[in-house]
Structures are given as C-alpha cells and as structure tokens.
C-alpha cells in the first residue's frame, strides 16, 4: 500500500511543472554547464521509472534532503516535531473513543429516548462543525473571554517539575478537545448504529435468558461484537483524522508536522513538503495496519497468514 501511495505522490511530483533547478538555471551566475552537471548528478535526466525507484528508496531511508529555508536536515526537523503531533493526535483519538463508546451504546440501548435524541442531535452538530470553526470558538471563549487557557502551544516551556506538566496539560486541552470532539461525534454515530444492529440479534436474547445481568449482556456480548463494524469504519476514517489534525495544529500553532507542512508550503520549501506528505502517508499506513490487527483481536475468526 505504501508503494501505491508513494507512486501517486511521485506521479504528482513528476507531473508538476517546474523543477528544483529552475532557480539555478535562471541564475546568471551559474554557468550552464554547471547546472547541466548538477541536473545529471541528481539524476533528473534519467527515465521516470529509474527516478521513481531512486526517489522511493531515498524516502524510505529517511534521506529527505535539506530544508531550503531553515538549512537543516529535513529528517531532524520532522523528528523534532513528530512526537508533538502524535501526542495530540493520540490523546484526541483516545478522548473520541471515551466519548463515543459510552454515549453511542447508551443511545442504542434506549433508542428514541430523550437521551438518544439529545445525543444524536449533538453528534450531528459536532460532525457538521468544521474543526477550524470549533477551534476559533474555543479560543474565543476559553482564551479570550474567560482567559483560562493559553491559545498558543509552546514547545519551550521554561517551568520545571509539576508546573511544567501543568502548563503542558493546559495548552494541550483545547487542541485535543477540538480534535477529539470532532472525531468523537462521527464515531458516536457509528457506535450507535452498530450497537443498534447487534442488540436485536438472537445471541443477545440468549445471554439475557441465561440470566446474565443487563450490563454484562450489553457490554460483553453486544458492544464487543458491535465494535467489529465500528473498527471497519474507523479504518476508513484514518486519512480524515489527519486532515483534522493538520488544521488543529495550524489553529493552535502546535509545533507538529501539520503546521510544519503549512509553513513550508507558504515558504516554498519543497523538500520539507514532500517529506511531510510522505510521513503522513506512512502514518496512515501504519495506523491502518494497527486497526487491522485490532480487528483480529476483536474477531477471532480472522487469522493472519
């Protein structure tokens, strides 16, 4: 799959007009022969297939070149920022699951009750609210109106000990909440409909008839089986999660790879842009694999190889 994605990326790159040496060619101080030699040295005159293999090899090895703007290795830049991104993303995802599982299940257990109506409506609203607008509303309310939370995420907090932790948690609340709520809203809908499907099945009746408590019936027999279709949908959602992450990072100026992508696009920093897009592709593939493994755990009928 990664090979496929990289092929798409490379095609886009190859189709794109202009090349990295355009500036060199336009620069009168660089003799033509030197520019030619450079092009040759970097293999820009080779056939497309050869270039693809070489490019993909370099990408996989983490050999991403130098940033035009900050003059450091692209990989250094990315490794600096990746943990922050993953932290925000992971916490947000955990929050989304923590919201979606109980609410979705409760909604499904009592369909069309008052609780269900409220939850479904809120989920619908949350799912229609774009992250950039929720983010701005959060900043407006919690940072500007109430003044509780900082709206800029800083990696260089000077405090130490408990205070350091406290500052970190405080600044992470809003980005995590924005991303988590957006994810949670969609997920709640999935969980609700999945549990609703499962709960009508015969084995739920059997479990009840055996005299199991309602809680055990729903949680152990119902939810666990309902999770199988939820996980399927979750796997399909993974690329979307990263979309929300890029926007959230940009709003709260979280120093992650999403905001790195935006700033490097604004600064025309091609190597960084390519590398970040590639890292995102890798993340999508990795997370999809993880979800697939989760699948095997949920559904013992599935075996691998």
């Amino acid at each position: 799959m990664l090979a496929g994605i990289s092929l798409v990326l490379f095609t886009i790159l190859a189709l794109a007009p202009g090349d990295p040496f355009e500036e060199l060619a336009a620069n009168p101080n660089v003799p033509r022969e030197v520019a030619q030699a450079l092009r040759h040295q970097y293999g820009l005159d080779d056939p497309v297939a050869v270039r693809y293999v070489r490019w993909f090899g370099a990408m996989v090895h983490g050999d991403w070149g130098f940033s035009f703007v900050s003059r450091v290795n692209v990989s250094t830049l990315i490794w600096q920022r990746l943990p922050t991104s993953l932290f925000v993303l992971g916490t947000a995802q955990a929050l989304a699951i923590l919201i979606a599982l109980p609410i979705g299940t409760l909604s499904a257990v009592r369909p069309y009750s008052f609780f269900d109506q409220v939850a479904t409506t809120l989920a619908f609203i949350g799912f229609s609210l774009p992250t950039f607008f929720t983010g701005l509303l959060f900043i407006l309310f919690f940072s500007i109106y109430l003044g509780w939370l900082p709206f800029i995420y800083r990696a260089d907090i000077s405090a130490t000990g408990w205070e350091w932790w406290w500052e970190h948690i405080r600044q992470a609340i809003m980005p995590v909440a924005v991303l988590g709520l957006a994810q949670g809203a969609g997920l709640t809908r999935f969980v609700r409909s999945a549990v609703l499907e499962v709960i009508r099945l015969d084995y739920i009746n059997t479990a009840r008839a055996k005299g199991l408590s309602e809680k055990v019936t729903i949680v152990k027999h119902g939810v666990r089986n309902a999770l199988i279709p939820v996980v399927t949908l979750l796997a399909l959602q993974i690329p979307t999660i990263f979309t929300g992450a890029v926007i959230t990072e940009q709003i709260f100026r979280v120093p992650g790879i999403g905001s790195l992508l935006i700033s490097s696009i604004l600064a025309n920093d091609t190597p960084v842009i390519m590398a970040v897009t590639f890292v995102y592709s890798c993340l999508v593939v990795t997370f999809t694999l993880l979800v697939d493994m989760l699948y095997g755990w949920l559904d013992p009928r599935i075996t691998y190889g």
Partner: protein, 312 residues
C-alpha cells in the same frame, strides 16, 4: 404505467393510497416527515436565495475600503460589521457564499461522475477489471487527503494561474482536486448496488429480451442504484464545502480578493480578540450550510429507501 391498467390498479389504489403519487412525489412526502431535514432544506433555500438575490438588493460593493469604519461590529450601515479594511462583511459573505456553494456542487458532480463510472465499470465487468478498480479505490481511500490536497495546490498553483487566470485557475484546480479525492465512497456504493441488482429478475428479464449491455446498465440498473448515490452526493457537497473552507482557512485556497467563507475566517483569525464578529459570522454560515446539507442527506436517506418504515 399503472394509470392505464384500469380495474386492478384502481382497486389497489383505492385500498392502499388515497391518491397515486409519482416516485418523486412520494419521496418528497417521506422527506417532509423528517422534521430536521425539512428545516435544513428551508434554511438552505433561504441562504441560497440570499446569495443569489442578495447582491442585487444589497448593493454594497465587496471591496470598498473605508478605514474610518474598520473592525466595527454589526450596525445599521454594516449589518454584519466590517473587517480590518472597513469592507462590508455581509456583502463579502454573500459573494463568498456563491463561490463556496459552487465549489461544493461542482466538486460533488465530479466525484459522482468518477464514482459512478468506476463503480459501474467495476460492478458490470467484474473479474480482473473489478479487482484492479477496487485496488485503485482502496489506494485512493488511504491517501492522506489534506496533505495531498495541499501538495497539489502548492505544485500546480502558479502554472494554472498563468494558464487560466487567477480566479478560474484556482476554482478549477480546487474543484478537480476535491472531487478527485472524494469519489471512492460513491464508487463502492455503486459497485455494491450493481452486484446485487444485476442478478435481480427485472434485469434478467431485460437481458433475456435482448437488451444490449449499455441499455441494461443505463435504463435498468443505474436508475435503481441512484438512491444511495443521491444521498452520498448530498453529503459530498457539504464535505467539499468544508474542504474548500479548510484550504482557504489555511491561506492556500482562493486569493484574498475572492472572499470565500474560509478565506474570511483566515483573515479574521488573528483579530479574534477585538473583532470576534468577523470570524463568527462566516463560521456560522459554513456551519449552518453544512449542517443543513447533512440533515437533508439524512432525510433523503430515509425518504429514498422504500423498505424503511418511517416512525412517528
């Protein structure tokens, strides 16, 4: 069809329904029973009317700079306030809304056309073609959408601007890219519909009557596969509007002189503390549009599924 088969049809009609309705009349009737979808449709119609007719009535130019009135909240002269150059927000939002909606609809059409074509080909031919097309669909599903969108915008922006002019170039690029990254759900839906429909009796009947493949597909299978496609298309409009707004919000969509809602938000976000109205109005407009469209999609899903028994 049923109208000129008098006795039986008449008896049935008397029994079941007070009056015979066309398919779309029936859909509309079922749609109206979804209260929130009806409200959503009403809100959307009002907004669309405002965008289309608004600039004819409300004749404030979108780019009139007035530093004396900059960053003012809502007032009688500027119903939604002004931005940092004193430009009227209502006028800008009415104009930007047209573009946001146009992007949404155009991108949806592209997504639907590609999706139906891929899905139909996949479902109709089966075998190796099906396998290849579904692999490609899976590949597209696993692309990281926004980073890719940004990459394409970054790489192709300048050339398209040169070739087609700044506005048309950006519009076409954004629409094509958003549509080109959103056709996969439609393709899967259409394929699934084709797989089940082509085994149905009425298609078999058409086949045994010697209908050529194209006629079977266009006349018998496709119309019956349309319901889910319409629903997916509706929701795609909302998704495309969000995608366009996201791009513009990141400063990488339309240029500043084309005030789409996302672009207004992008300009407003650094002035949140002293001009909150500047961000709240366009944000609410995006939210209301998307929410309405999503509810309409929900209502259509219920209305177009004849097997679904509606509660209440």
């Amino acid at each position: 069809m049923a109208t000129n088969a008098p006795p039986l049809a008449a008896a049935l009609a008397l029994d079941a329904q007070p009056a015979a309705r066309s398919l779309w009349g029936e859909t509309f009737r079922r749609f109206r029973r979804h209260r929130l979808a009806t409200v959503g449709a009403a809100i959307l119609i009002v907004m669309v009317m405002a965008m289309l007719a608004g600039p004819l009535v409300y004749r404030v130019p979108i780019d009139e700079i007035d530093f004396k009135a900059k960053l003012k909240g809502p007032s009688w002269t500027h119903p939604l306030g002004t931005d940092d150059l004193g430009q009227d927000l209502l006028a800008r939002m009415l104009y930007g809304g047209r573009i946001s909606l146009a992007v949404g609809i155009a991108a949806m059409l592209i997504a639907i056309v590609i999706g139906v074509a891929v899905g139909a080909a996949s479902g109709h031919f089966g075998g190796a073609a099906d396998h290849t097309l579904m692999r490609i669909t899976d590949l597209f599903i696993s692309l990281p959408q926004l980073p890719l969108l940004l990459l394409i915008v970054y790489l192709f922006r300048d050339t398209l601007k040169k070739v087609l002019g700044p506005e048309a170039g950006i519009f076409i690029m954004i629409v094509v890219v958003i549509g080109g990254l959103r056709w996969m759900p439609v393709a899967r839906l259409v394929r699934a519909q084709f797989l089940s429909l082509r085994e149905k009796e009425f298609v078999e009947a058409a086949r045994s009557l010697g209908a050529p493949a194209l006629r079977q597909v266009a006349r018998h299978i496709l119309p019956n596969a349309l319901g889910p496609v319409i629903v997916a298309g509706t929701i795609d409009v909302a998704a495309a509007i969000i995608a366009e707004s996201s791009l513009s919000f990141l400063g990488l969509g339309f240029p500043p002189d084309i005030p789409t809602w996302g672009r207004i938000l992008f300009d407003a976000k650094d002035n949140l503390d002293f001009a909150p109205h500047w961000a709240i109005f366009p944000g609410t407009a995006i939210f209301l549009t998307v929410l309405s469209i999503n509810y309409i999609g929900d209502g259509l899903r219920d209305a177009l599924d004849p097997r679904k028994v509606l509660g209440h």
